[in-house]
Amino acid sequence: MPETILETKGLTRRFGGLTAVDAVDMVMRPGELVGLIGPNGAGKSTFFNCLTGFYPPSEGEVRFLDKPITGLKPFQVAKMGIGRTFQNLRIMPNMTVFDNVSIGAIGSLGHSLRRALWPFNCLTDNEISQRTWDILARVGLDSLSSELAANLSYGKRKYLEIARALATDPKLLILDEPAAGLNEQETEQLADFIQKLNREGLPILLVEHDMGLVMGICQRVMVLALGKKIADDTPEAVQQHPLVLEAYLGGEECQY
């Protein structure tokens, strides 16, 4: 078993003169449920995109399961075992629920032209189907499998996106603002679901704008502000941290 799931060393990303992520170090250990919070514009999404290969980092290193993944393309990162969801829901509206989820399984098990032309059942295709059905049952979407994704309610689409990420058979799941747009009751259900996934042994990094969900379920919370990591501790300790209070509520002077 690797000692760390995810590790960044001095991760930096600049856009022109703006340093969106500034030398961030972090470590995630197996089985952890870590929250990443920060006010608007703190660099959460950029950090996220550097982890998943969407932006190559300007400096620094990302290691996943003790292997360097810095500069890999998104599909390579996904194949290595990082599953992700998107901040603003990105489902495939003109495909059925089953087909949406199958994309995750196809991504990790591979697609091939040769297999498409082979007119008989083949093991990989069966595995894709089987895994898709299993995940659909796990998130409770199996009864809607042949519905078009566009016809789902907003809450169901959230689960569809998580299901698709789970179908990649991730070793680490990164959720980008999963609670955005959900009401209190739905957020609570989602929190239970995330905790359940984590208890089954899946490490989860939860990127959230809003404190509520993160403080409730995470074992550890990292806070970003203006691109820098300003705190990394238990939820209780983070809530008392002076720099965090300053970043969220505004201090007398801002010095970073």
Binding site: T52, F54, K73, P74, F75, A78, K79, G83, R84, F86, R90, I91, M92, P93, N94, M95, T96, F98, D99, S102, I103, G104, I106, G107, S108, H111, S112, L113, R115, A116, L117, P119, N121, D125, N126, I128, S129, Q130, T132, W133, D142, S146, L148, R164, A165, A167, T168
Partner: protein, 338 residues
């Protein structure tokens, strides 16, 4: 799902396939040779060829969402490759046919490599440029292609020493090729490979984040699509016996695109219906005289207004494909695609 229902589904699927094959290989040639008008037979031949072209273009434009405005170029590359290899090197039909496809497929890959990072309108304009390049080359490289005079292929289609000279026998060659090509395109559309292509159309970044190598996938799809278009071009050259750059110009690309859109983007049966409609309608409307092309235009216009998803839309096409050919779809432990 009960076994009974499973059986009845696969029976219906087999009946449908047999019925279609009987129609294409039995009823249509039977009726046409009974009518005895060679012109009708030629229309049927070109309708079948365009079915393949539209179905192959549907793979990239409908299923993978890459709007291609230069598809006629690959049609032309296939046709001219076959014609040149046959007239200059005397290669037989059995070689010129796959080589026509391969040449178009290679050209497709060459076009795809630099353009695969382009999306939507940018990709469309890039392929438009490629279409123009090929057309102008065919038109002006007189020493090779005889330019606007076109090329004549004197040798009839010959397979293992048997010459296919009669219109009916040529029809059968085309029909068999069309059935095989469309079956293979069907497999590509209705499989997890097809799902991956659709995901690229719906949201390429998201597909990439799920582990799908979008560029590789697009190149594969483009190569497959242009291969079948080239194959159709080679068949056209041999069956018509004459080709000219006119048949591969921009308006032809638009005609193919219209077939796919009118039939239903992403739907393989739709693109076949679209091809049949746009090839047969002008013939049916022949009685209208000068108003013929106006009538065709009106039908196209109305079909897009009234049926924006096409005559046979993608969603229903996939549903039919699943219900009939993947009978276990409803079952709990079923497979998504056979």
């Amino acid at each position: 799902m009960t076994d009974n229902k499973l059986v009845s589904h696969s029976v219906r699927a087999n009946l449908l396939v047999l019925g279609l094959l009987a129609l294409v290989l039995g009823v249509v040639p039977g009726v046409l040779s009974f009518l005895g008008k060679s012109y009708y037979m030629q229309v049927a031949n070109s309708a079948l060829i365009y079915c393949v072209v539209a179905a192959s273009m549907n793979l990239i434009t409908g299923t993978a969402g890459l709007m291609c405005l230069g598809h006629a170029a690959f049609f032309g590359i296939g046709a001219y490759t076959a014609a040149l290899l046959n007239t200059h090197f005397g290669l037989p039909f059995l070689l010129t046919l796959p080589l026509g496809g391969v040449a178009a497929g290679l050209a497709g890959v060459l076009v795809a490599l630099p353009t695969m990072r382009l999306i939507s309108i940018y990709f469309a304009v890039a392929t438009l440029g490629v279409g123009e390049i090929v057309h102008v080359t065919l038109l002006n490289w007189v020493s090779l292609t005889r330019g606007p005079m076109g090329m004549q292929i004197y040798e009839p289609i010959t397979i293992f020493g048997h010459q296919f000279t009669g219109l009916l026998s040529i029809y059968y060659v085309i029909a068999v090729l069309a059935c095989v090509s469309i079956y293979l395109l069907w497999r590509m559309n209705h499989s997890y490979f097809g799902n991956a292509l659709r995901s690229v159309r719906e949201d390429d970044q998201c597909a990439e984040a799920m582990g799908i190598s979008v560029v590789k996938l697009k190149i594969q799809a483009f190569a497959a699509s242009t291969f079948f278009t080239g194959l159709a071009g080679a068949v056209l050259a041999h069956s018509a016996g004459y080709i000219s750059p006119d048949s591969f110009q921009f308006s032809e690309s638009i005609l193919i695109l219209t077939m796919v859109v009118v039939g239903g983007l992403g739907s393989l049966p739709g693109s076949i219906l679209g091809a049949l409609l746009l090839i047969l309608l002008p013939e049916v409307a022949r009685g209208l005289g000068d108003m013929r092309n106006v009538a065709v235009g009106v039908v196209m216009f109305l079909s897009i207004l009234l049926l924006p998803k096409g005559i046979f839309g993608e969603v229903s096409a996939i549903e039919v494909a699943r219900k009939l050919f993947n009978s276990a779809w409803d079952g709990r432990n079923a497979v998504g695609w056979k």
